[in-house]
């Protein structure tokens, strides 16, 4: 069983007023997400992430291909009892309070009055809006609306949650809250499928990711398989070294960056012995501030993959 499965999912939009010309927003996307996974759906703006989510929610209809959620076609309205969805930059009814909104959505799920009341209270507390539950939504900031959006996506205790840019509009505390929420969902066995272009979030949360560019899947798999986790080098920050002392450190440095007067970031090769370099710095009167191994990040991988895709699809390229 797959939590989410797409096969050659394709979406063309017609652009233009008189002379319609097709624009392919998503091109033959084939993807499987297993139950209980936190799956990151990554890509630059305009890559087709939101289109994919809209196709999965049947807000738009595919030009070709198929999609299933929990082994049911996405068009099956009953499957929506078991899923939650946070759209990108969600908008709600101005005239309602957050509590009224959640109760209204609870009625759409067919929840009884007591459950609606209980879930609305629990979720608004969980997303940090307990104190503002009776405030009209027209008075909410963008970040607060994002939190309401998260709450409504979880109202029915869904088995699969779709989050379109869940960190959008949130301050650092809000982002931490969302990260913790996703991890709690994962611990409860909920499948989380979230789109983002904030790679550090994906790196911290996801077991698997897919990278989309120009409507095409350019890479997908486990983070551990995608990224080389061996050390590529070392980043040593020292303080209190004079420029003369710096030259006395000897050969072997890949790069030296001046951070402030007397403070430098030294990039060492992978085979360097960092303990020896620290001892050398200390002997020359310096003080070690930090030492960090350099590994490939998801950002490095992402930039490489998306860059390669753009080069392939540029006019004049062979592909």
């Amino acid at each position: 069983m797959h939590a989410i499965e797409t096969e050659n999912l394709t979406k063309d939009y017609a652009l233009g007023f008189w002379r319609k010309r097709p624009y392919r927003a998503l091109d033959r996307l084939t993807l499987q997400v297993s139950p209980g996974e936190v799956f990151g759906f990554l890509g630059p703006n305009g890559a087709g992430k939101t289109t994919t989510l809209k196709l999965l929610m049947q807000l738009v209809f595919p030009t070709a291909g198929r999609a299933e959620i929990l082994d049911r076609p996405v068009g099956d309205v009953e499957v929506r009892r078991r899923i939650g969805y946070l759209p990108e930059n969600p908008y709600f009814y101005d005239h309602l309070t957050a509590e009224e909104l959640l109760r209204y959505y609870g009625r759409l799920f067919g929840l009884d009055r007591a459950t609606r009341r209980q879930r609305a209270g629990e979720l608004l507390d969980e997303v940090g809006l307990g104190a503002e539950r009776r405030l009209a939504l027209r008075r909410y900031s963008k970040g607060m609306l994002q939190r309401v959006g998260l709450a409504q996506a979880l109202l029915n205790r869904p088995q699969v949650v779709f989050l379109d840019e869940p960190m959008s509009g949130l301050d650092p505390i809000g982002r931490r809250m969302v990260r913790d929420l996703i991890l709690r969902l994962r611990d409860r066995g909920t499948t989380v499928f979230f789109s983002s272009h904030i790679l550090s979030d994906a790196e911290a949360l996801c077991s698997r990711v897919a990278i989309l560019a120009g409507g095409r899947l350019v890479s997908s798999g486990r983070l551990t398989d995608m990224l080389a986790f061996e050390v590529k080098g070392w980043d040593l920050v020292v303080d209190g070294l004079s420029a003369d002392a710096l030259t006395g450190l000897g050969p072997g440095l890949i790069r030296t960056t001046t951070i402030a007067e007397g403070r430098y970031a030294l990039e060492l090769p992978a085979d360097a012995r960092p303990d020896e370099w620290m001892a050398r710095c200390t002997a020359l009167g310096g003080r070690v501030v930090s030492l960090n191994p350099l590994r490939e990040t998801l950002e490095d991988f992402f930039v490489r993959q998306v860059g390669a895709h753009h080069r392939r699809t540029e006019p004049g390229s062979n592909n």
């Binding site: 939009y13 929610m57 009953e78 759209p87 969600p90 908008y91 959505y105 759409l108 799920f109």
Partner: protein
């Protein structure tokens, strides 16, 4: 079926958007008119107030039906709140019909309160006249037949709400308003299209006129204000047939609106 929560949500929105403030204006117009009419006319007071009350109910109602109706679906799509609703177990036709029922409830409450207000003003005026004057009226001040006129006005409004909602599923509010008001006006002169062959002999033109007669809402058949005010009887069979016509027209429009909305990409 999630029809009820959707309908109640539309009704609540109408209340919070102060749609019912029009009732205050209606009451002011009625009271002011009753005071004014008493000083300027002789013996026609009650008839004029009935006329004014029914006309104002119709006019205020059509403004609500059109201006709320054209935004019902369009606003949901434009502001993307529809994404949240349709990701729940809600079929698209249920959203369309639920929205329609919500506005219909608003109009029902509006027309009912207006009817009560008119009866209250008429009861007050009724007291001010001696029995001999009352005997000379075409119809009693508190004529129950007024209710027939109110019911048929409501039917007209529900038809026009369906028209506005139909346009709202695929058109902008500005265009929807133009189309709906256009149909409202045309609907009052619909009977002329039926007898077009008496004016024009060209067959294709007559066919087009006849086709338009069946497509456009026949609002004139639902307008019995004049008969009721003048105390002329309105047959029960006529009322039933008119209501049946309105119901069929509404169901067909809601069906078409649901079909269009169900196939639309909500970009």
């Amino acid at each position: 079926m999630p029809l009820l929560p959707i309908a109640l949500s539309v009704f609540r929105e109408s209340v919070r958007d102060k749609v019912f403030y029009n009732l205050l204006l209606f009451a002011v117009i009625l009271v002011a008119a009753s005071l004014l009419v008493g000083q300027t006319t002789a013996g026609q007071d009650v008839k004029i107030i009935k006329d004014l009350g029914l006309a104002a109910t119709s006019l205020f109602g059509i403004f609500i039906a059109v201006f709320v109706g054209i935004n019902l679906v369009w606003k949901e799509v434009e502001r993307r709140s529809v994404y949240n609703v349709l990701s729940k177990p809600v079929r698209r036709p249920a959203l369309v019909v639920g929205k329609y029922l919500g506005l219909s409830l608003t109009l029902l409450v509006n027309v009912s309160v207006m009817a009560l207000a008119l009866y209250a003003v008429l009861a007050y005026m009724n007291q001010g006249f001696p029995e001999s004057v009352r005997q000379a009226w075409d119809a009693p001040a508190l004529d129950p037949a007024l209710l027939i006129a109110f019911v048929l006005i409501l039917a007209q409004l529900l038809m026009m709400t369906a028209v506005a909602l139909f346009f709202s599923t695929f058109s902008s509010p500005m265009l929807s308003a133009v189309f709906t008001f256009g149909l409202y006006v045309a609907g009052h002169f619909n009977a002329d299209l039926k007898n077009f062959e008496t004016i024009v002999s060209l067959r294709p033109v007559v066919w087009v006129a006849r086709a338009l007669y069946y497509v456009l809402p026949n609002l004139a058949s639902l307008d019995v204000k004049s008969q009721v005010v003048h105390g002329q009887p309105v047959a029960a069979g006529y009322v039933s047939l008119s209501l049946l016509y309105a119901a069929v027209y509404i169901v067909m429009l809601l069906g078409a609106a649901s079909l269009i909305f169900a196939r639309r990409d909500l970009k």
